[in-house]
């Protein structure tokens, strides 16, 4: 009886367009934010930050990015891993080339560079669609990984072929490098996530988002109502790659600390992000979070249960994980293409009627 919009009438169109139209949701959101900023850093242990929370935050950014391109604008991409690599290598080159540059700028600039690269690889999308576009982005994925492997300039001619993040700090606290405290890294990532999610929400709620969705739902009709298909698709590629590039830069600089391109940003990363978007829900910012949380948490939980509790060998557990993910993807594609976000919406519908089902 608490959760509903009764007595919560919208008196203006601006109010009707709120992100969380139901007061209960709005409060839930603020409380979650306050909790994440003020409580979590003090109660969480380093294992959880490193095994779950940091990857969750960083992958959520990447998932939002891919969701903008695929979920909102309808352009399939298998190049996310490659674009993350662009962000990572851009961050590496910027950090080593300009040691005085603030890490925040480094990360935003890396996103900007990835945006340009993404738009370049998005050019074919004007001509090709669906399956063929997916293949083209797959080619981009392999090309980018090959490029970062083959051209030593990108890894500063290091003997190992790896890139590693030097220490950078803000307000005296190290956020990259070996001395970064997990709680600091966490807060650093959280700030990015909040700002980027808010920006994505704003970009998708108004005219810009409608252009993307129009192209997704029917590009011919979109053109008839005045949407320029090339420009719209390219902005989607640009914005999406911006997010994915930032995720790549953060994965490398804040989370991994050191990376080898094929291992950190290979094709499996592209699929991981795609699965997050599919399971979480295409065309939903919330879904991007849900999908990222699911894909990050599930292996940890499965491992704890299968290896920890049941005593299975690790490799069997790892294989079993593949089976579960594969099964879930198929299930979601068939039963609920809008993913966890839709299940959540349905649950809320039920809750709104509770305790009187009619």
């Amino acid at each position: 009886m608490i959760y509903r919009e009764a007595g919560d009438f919208k008196t203006s169109y601006a109010k009707d367009q709120q992100t969380f139209p139901i007061a209960f949701d709005r409060w839930g959101y603020f409380i979650t934010l306050a909790f994440a900023f003020l409580v979590v850093p003090f109660i969480i242990n380093d294992y959880w930050i490193n095994a779950v929370v940091l990857p969750f935050l960083i992958y959520a950014i990447a998932a939002i990015g891919l969701n903008i391109l695929t979920g909102y604008c309808g352009q399939v991409s298998l190049g996310s891993g490659g674009f993350m690599a662009v962000g990572a290598y851009a961050a590496y080159k910027l950090m080593t080339g300009f040691p005085d540059l603030n890490i925040v700028f480094v990360i935003f600039l890396s996103g900007g560079i990835t945006a340009l690269v993404g738009m370049l690889f998005g050019l074919p999308s004007l001509r090709i669609k669906g399956f063929y576009l997916a293949v083209a982005t797959l080619a981009a994925q392999f090309f980018l990984v090959w490029l970062f492997n083959k051209v030593p300039w990108f890894y500063n001619y290091s003997a190992s072929g790896q890139i590693s993040a030097p220490e950078r700090s803000i307000f005296g606290y190290a956020v990259t490098g070996a001395n970064a405290l997990p709680a600091v890294s966490y807060l650093f990532c959280l700030c990015f996530v909040v700002i980027l999610a808010w920006a994505a929400r704003n970009l998708t709620r108004g005219a810009n988002g409608r252009k993307w969705m129009a192209i997704r739902d029917m590009d011919i009709a979109a053109e008839i109502i005045g949407v320029n298909p090339l420009k719209t698709k390219l902005t989607a590629f640009g914005v999406s790659s911006f997010y994915i590039g930032i995720a790549g830069a953060m994965l490398f600089a804040v989370y991994l600390g050191a990376a080898e391109v094929g291992e950190a940003f290979g094709i499996s990363k592209s699929f991981l992000i795609l699965f997050m978007v599919i399971i979480g829900g295409l065309g939903s910012i919330f879904g991007s979070f849900a999908g990222a949380a699911f894909m990050v948490l599930m292996p940890v939980l499965l491992k704890n249960v299968m290896v920890g509790q049941l005593g299975w060998p690790t490799d069997l557990a790892a294989h079993f994980e593949f089976v579960i993910v594969g099964g879930l993807i198929v299930l979601f594609l068939i039963v609920e293409p809008h993913g966890l976000a839709q299940l959540w919406r349905l649950a809320k519908e039920k809750l709104r009627l509770w305790p009187f089902p009619h």
């Binding site: 367009q17 704003n202 970009l203 409608r210 009709a221 053109e223 008839i224 109502i225």
Partner: protein, 271 residues
């Protein structure tokens, strides 16, 4: 016909100078000639019908008008100017909106969002103010929402405002599509069989909406319609096409008594 001529309709509306002139349009698809040397005009404030048997080339004509097809020969003049090669989205910005014979709504969006997309040609805030949202972008959104709500009231679809259009019955989808076109506040509105597949009641509603749009907003309308009764009721002038050729052009009365038209509809069998 003199370009500055204007005329008064029997019900007292003044029809002005031509908004769009089609001059000697020929459109071919490989060997098929869909439109053969057709000329006609559409005048400010009028309801112009295009009729003809199946496959006559009516939809193709509409596609030429909004730049979807490029005719091999002939010229299109819009608001006194010859139109160069243009993409459909540029033509939309010039003020031409349309609906489709097979509904072309955005299935994943609500009624409200679909009609809001019709406002895109009027929404100009840049990407950065959209990211910021508060301020220019929100103001623009609210202003346009107000106009869209008027259209929603006008079309009597308040109750389906938030429903995804894919779930709506056919007749309502047609109405939403009309709403999306109206939202653009077009100078010329093209409707491809707005009443196809509707029952009598729905047709009456739709006829009323079309007449009201024309009357209240002064919108110039070109529409394709098969139902002769409807055409006779609402059109000011009618172009008749058959096998890509123009076989009649005039008031509904003139067209109805034209022998070529009678033959095309009754005589020679078309599949």
């Amino acid at each position: 016909m003199n370009a500055i001529d204007s005329y008064i309709t029997p019900d007292g509306r003044t029809i002005g100078a031509p908004v769009m002139e089609m001059k000697n349009i020929t459109l071919r698809f490989g060997g098929v000639v869909a439109i053969k040397d057709i000329s006609f005009d559409i005048r400010e404030g009028e309801i112009r019908a295009i009729i003809g048997p199946n496959g006559a080339g009516k939809s193709s004509m509409l596609n030429v008008m909004n730049g979807f097809y490029h005719p091999q020969e002939g010229e299109v003049h819009f608001r006194g100017e010859k139109r160069g090669p243009m993409r459909p989205h540029q033509i939309a910005h010039q003020g031409i909106a349309r609906t489709f014979q097979n509904i072309a709504l955005f299935k994943g969006m609500s009624t409200l969002d679909n009609i809001m997309t019709g406002r895109l040609t009027h929404m100009k805030t840049g990407m950065f103010s959209q990211i910021k949202w508060w301020g220019a972008a929100q103001r623009e959104e609210v202003e346009n929402r107000e106009l869209v709500e008027k259209i929603i009231d006008f079309l009597e679809i308040q109750t389906i405002r938030k429903t995804p259009v894919g779930r709506l019955p056919y007749g309502l989808q047609k109405r939403v599509e009309l709403g999306r076109a109206l939202a653009a506040e077009p100078k010329l509105l093209l409707l491809d069989e707005p009443m196809a597949g509707m029952n009598v009641e729905e047709k009456e509603d739709m006829s009323r909406f079309i007449l009201d749009v024309n009357d209240e907003f002064g919108t110039t309308i070109a529409l394709i319609e098969h139902d002769m009764g409807v055409v006779m009721d609402i059109a000011d002038r009618v172009v008749v096409m058959d096998y890509g050729k123009k076989i009649g052009d005039g008031t509904p009365e003139e067209v109805r008594t034209n022998q070529d038209v009678i033959d095309a509809y009754l005589g020679v069998a078309h599949d």
